[in-house]
């Protein structure tokens, strides 16, 4: 019982079987998932398409009901009103009312949390600033938003209640590298605020950059679970990095390794990531205070 209340999410044998019209088993989408996500950590849910990631998220949110097993979110049974007060959810796509503008959208979701109008007046622009939607964008109908802007307003609605637990389903889908980086920065900032983040993605680099722990699902079953650095560590390979080493020093290192019997050492220059290169170029060419997205003009 203590595990259920101490953890942010706890599941025991969580199973979902989709059935056909006659009640016959059709697809086992999630098969006996046992999981505990600690409070304050960023947890990644990985897996290929159809592995059960979205099913797990939908079960945790009470959008669908488990066939077997149980789950607790922030110590309460899933789908309860109390749980919904304390969580935020960014769906895979921004499923929002397209006829409302950005501000109206946030005010509507704020009212569902019974946030007083006075607080909403402060909270809404604050959130729009955080997700990077400028004054013009706030007044535009959501149907006129680009995909990136829709993700941003989706994220803002997920944070309207200042949640303890945030569930992000493919949060970087549709975002360009800058937006992706900002999203990852935001996730880390949420973690620093002590919030728990459950990240569901198939973009492995994203997960690797921000998650403390991950689990990999395949065909509805849990395949791996652990800290990212532990899971990615190649134990029989050693890497030593130096900066500013010349050719002569490099040759001496090779000789030394040879005397130790290490003859298959590979010595190369490290490369930056394409994401880092892209970000550097864009940032160097964007004036201060100017938005870089074309959809935000």
């Amino acid at each position: 019982m203590q595990e259920k209340t101490a953890t942010a999410i706890h599941t025991e044998g969580l199973t979902k079987i989709y059935r056909d019209f006659w009640g016959r088993d059709k697809v086992v989408a999630l098969d006996g998932l046992d999981l505990s996500i600690n409070r304050g950590e960023v947890f990644g849910l990985l897996g290929p398409n159809g592995s059960g990631k979205s099913t797990a998220i939908k079960l945790l949110l009470g959008l669908i009901f488990p066939t077997r097993g149980k789950a607790w979110v922030l110590g309460d049974p899933i789908g309860s009103n109390e749980v919904n007060k304390r969580i935020g959810f960014l769906p895979e796509e921004s499923y929002l009312y397209r006829f409302l503008n950005g501000e109206e959208t946030l005010k509507f979701y704020g009212r569902l949390f019974k946030i007083p109008s006075r607080d909403l007046k402060r909270r809404v622009p604050e959130l729009l600033d955080i997700v990077g939607l400028d004054a013009k964008a706030r007044k535009r109908k959501l149907r006129e938003y680009s995909k990136g802007m829709a993700r941003r307003i989706g994220l803002a609605q997920a944070l309207i209640n200042d949640p303890e637990l945030i569930l992000l389903d493919e949060p970087t889908t549709g975002l360009d590298p800058i937006g992706t980086r900002e999203m990852k920065d935001l996730i880390l900032s949420l973690k620093n605020q002590g919030k728990t983040v459950l990240l569901c993605s198939h973009l492995l680099a994203d997960v690797q950059d921000v998650c403390d722990r991950i689990t990999i699902l395949f065909k509805g079953k849990r395949m791996e679970l652990g800290a990212v650095k532990d899971l990615l560590q190649v134990r029989d390979v050693t890497q030593i990095s130096f900066k500013g080493m010349n050719e002569s020093q490099l040759s001496q290192v090779k000789q030394f390794l040879g005397t130790m019997g290490v003859n298959n050492a590979e010595i190369t220059h490290p490369t930056t990531t394409l994401e880092d290169l892209f970000i550097r170029i864009v940032r160097e060419n964007t004036a201060v205070g100017q938005s870089y997205t074309s959809g935000d003009r």
Binding site: I64, N81, E93, Y97
Partner: protein, 684 residues
């Protein structure tokens, strides 16, 4: 079949209030047992937020554009109308406007409410709603409220247009009335009615009081002790309400009811002076209204009476031929000599039909006036043993509440016209109780409307139909002078009566048609006293309110259907649910017990077992439809257009009845929607 039998055998208390029991059970189980937690956290502010989004969606999707389209349609249609006078012009404009309003608000409500939830589930917007602290109960309530707000917006726009359109038109029409009155002959048939419109305006809302009963008699009733009716035309229904145990023969408590039969005693007087009163050329009347040729001769010395039994729905359960007539020819004009009939045990109907029933009395001498007095009709249960006394059973209502019916005309009972001194005629007796006007001074208007049926002769066809009206105050005993007025078929006419005769509200109005060869068809609704006049705007608002309540019913039904069906099928189910009861009512007698036999016989099966099976299937289907209709909403309760069209104040009771339908249907249906939605996986 077992379920059917169970339903058929429900205790009267449950059967009578079936919809209330079902509604109460659904609400209590759905909200207080199943959804107590959601009720506890129910938040009106969340409901309002959800409703605001529904409203904004409808507005931004330009749903309200339907109103200018409807307005253009109304203006165009009104150009093609050919009203017969000013009042008819207003009536037709009002009818078209309100019909269009009702139509667009209903269609909009059905389409919006049926498509909303399935589309939100399909495009997954519902994900971001149900993952917030909103309960499914709040979602259902929010959607009902949201679309109710859209309906209200449509009704307000259309209401404002209707008022402006009518006000503008009635202004010029009223001026036309004033001009016509200036040039019109003082004795013109339509003058009193036009004067009424000139004084009260065309956009009126009259507060009417209706009579409590209508009796079609041969003479004006002097008091409650005697009534005269006309032989050969119509009949008299005497009501009885008898518990089964009173039909058990005295002296043998174990005997079944009616096992010793039942005697019917009727003392009928008659006026033998027939000849001087003859004069109506009946042979000239068309077959629809011509009475059989009356007996010729100077006097009638013997009156013949026939008796039968009708159930509470006034359907024959024992024909006169099934009764043994011990004495049906009466020779005493004062009615001392009793007519006697006997219902033999073997001819007795099902005892269930003998709880509330009528003894129907028909005078067989055409044109002969016959009389009935208080106490002149009674039943007698014969004893089982010689020592026991027969049991005498009196009617369930006094003479003033017996049903004196004329022959059926096109829209009511026929009141035969003519000169009462020369030929047998009828007098329609409308009894008003508690119908005092606000003031007993001045002249009080009455509204009268009846269908006129004329004889085939040219003279009679061309003559205007004249009405003679006398009002007698039952408290003071004073009687007004005859008021004569001309009437037109199926058109409201107005005449005025001195208020002093209406004081205390207890009075009878005697209506005669004094034009030879004309019949007027009257019902209880034909005559009303105008007790008050209220503003047209207020009346229109009441009518729009009733329409709005109907829109809420439509929305609740549509949302219920859309919780488990795709939107096209949901629209079909919504219409079936809303029109189901009306449809079953239209089937009427076709669903009465016995329909199975009738259908099976008509199909002409060769094998008897097939006939029996077909009969049972049809009977079960008829029963199923009848029971289903009971739990479907009665949309006729929302009909208020007719009142407005007639210029009659929509009674507050109509608003109440509409609310009751909402309570017994829309509320439980919304609770069911909540229960279904709570158990529904909203992720497709």
């Amino acid at each position: 079949m077992t379920v059917m039998h169970t339903i058929a055998a429900l205790p009267p208390m449950i059967d009578r209030y079936l919809e209330w029991w079902i509604a109460g059970t659904i609400i209590i189980v759905g909200l207080l047992v199943y959804g107590l937690r959601d009720v506890a956290v129910f938040s009106l502010s969340r409901v309002w937020a959800i409703s605001s989004v529904c409203f904004a969606e409808s507005i931004r999707k330009r749903v309200l554009w339907i109103t200018p389209l409807a307005i253009i349609g109304i203006v165009l249609v009104s150009q093609f109308q050919r009203p017969i006078d000013e009042a008819d012009a207003v009536r037709q404009m009002l009818k078209v406007s309100l019909f269009a309003t009702g139509l667009i608000v209903t269609i909009t409500a059905v389409i919006l409410a049926c498509t909303n939830l399935p589309k939100e589930i399909e495009n997954r917007v519902i994900f971001t709603i149900v993952t917030k602290p909103t309960t499914r109960l709040e979602i259902v309530a929010g959607k009902v409220l949201g679309f109710a707000r859209v309906s209200a917006a449509i009704l307000i726009i259309m209401g404002l247009f209707t008022f402006g359109f009518l006000y503008f038109n009635s202004f010029s029409l009223q001026r036309g009335i004033t001009e016509r009155l200036q040039t019109m002959d003082a004795s013109s048939a339509s003058r009193p009615t036009l004067e009424y419109y000139r004084d009260n305006g065309l956009l009126t809302a009259r507060g009417l009081a209706s009579p409590v009963s209508l009796q079609v008699l041969a003479r004006e009733a002097v008091d409650d002790s005697e009534r005269w009716f006309l032989g050969g035309e119509g009949d008299v229904l005497v009501p009885f309400d008898i518990p089964a145990e009173l039909l058990v023969p005295p002296g043998d408590a174990s005997a079944p009811p009616l096992s010793a039969g039942l005697a019917i005693i009727v003392n009928t007087g008659f006026d033998g002076r027939v000849a001087p009163r003859r004069g109506l050329p009946d042979s000239t009347l068309p077959p629809t209204i011509a009475a059989p040729q009356p007996a010729r001769g100077n006097t009638v010395s013997e009156a013949k009476v026939d008796v039968s039994l009708l159930d509470s729905m006034q359907t024959t359960i024992v024909a006169s031929t099934a009764l043994t007539a011990a004495q049906s020819s009466l020779t005493d004009p004062t009615g001392q000599e009793p007519g006697q009939w006997f219902l033999p045990p073997q001819a007795a109907p099902n005892i269930e039909n003998m709880r509330q029933f009528y003894v129907a009395i028909v005078g067989l001498n055409d044109g002969v006036e016959m009389s009935l007095k208080s106490g002149s009709v009674k039943l007698l249960v014969p004893p089982a043993t010689p020592n026991a006394q027969p049991r005498i059973i009196e009617p369930a209502a006094p003479l003033s509440r017996w049903v004196f019916r004329g022959r059926y005309g096109r829209t009511g009972f026929q009141v035969r016209g003519g000169d009462a001194q020369k030929s047998p005629t009828h007098v329609g007796t409308f009894s008003f109780r508690d119908a005092a006007p606000p003031s007993s001074s001045g002249m009080i208007p009455f509204e009268f409307r009846a269908d006129i049926e004329r004889s085939g002769s040219d003279d009679a066809d061309e003559a205007p139909t004249k009405l003679s009206v006398v009002v007698r105050n039952n408290q003071s005993g004073r009687q007004s002078e005859p008021i004569t007025t001309l009437i037109e078929s199926n058109r409201p006419i107005f005449f005025k009566v001195p208020g002093e005769f209406l004081a205390s509200g207890d009075y009878d109005v005697f209506v005669r048609c004094v034009t030879q060869g004309h019949y007027i068809s009257v019902s209880r609704a034909s005559l009303s006293v105008v007790r008050s006049s209220e503003s047209f705007v207020f009346n229109l608002s009441k009518s729009l309110l009733v329409m709005w309540l109907m829109a809420i019913l439509v929305i609740s039904t549509a949302i219920f259907a859309s919780t488990f069906l795709s939107w096209p099928i949901a629209i079909v189910l919504t219409l079936v649910m809303l029109l189901g009861r009306w449809g079953v009512v239209q089937l009427g007698d076709a669903l009465q017990p016995g329909i199975g036999n009738q259908v099976a016989t008509d199909l002409g099966f060769q094998r008897p077992e097939v006939t029996v099976t077909a009969s049972k299937v049809v009977e079960a289907l008829a029963k199923f439809l009848t029971v289903s209709a009971k739990v479907l909403p009665d949309i006729s309760q929302f009909a208020s257009i007719e009142d407005l069209e007639r210029g009659v104040a929509v009674p507050a009771v109509k608003v109440r009845d509409s609310l009751l339908v909402l309570l017994t249907f829309a509320v439980p249906l919304s609770v069911l929607s909540y229960v279904i939605l709570r158990n529904k996986e909203v992720a497709p």
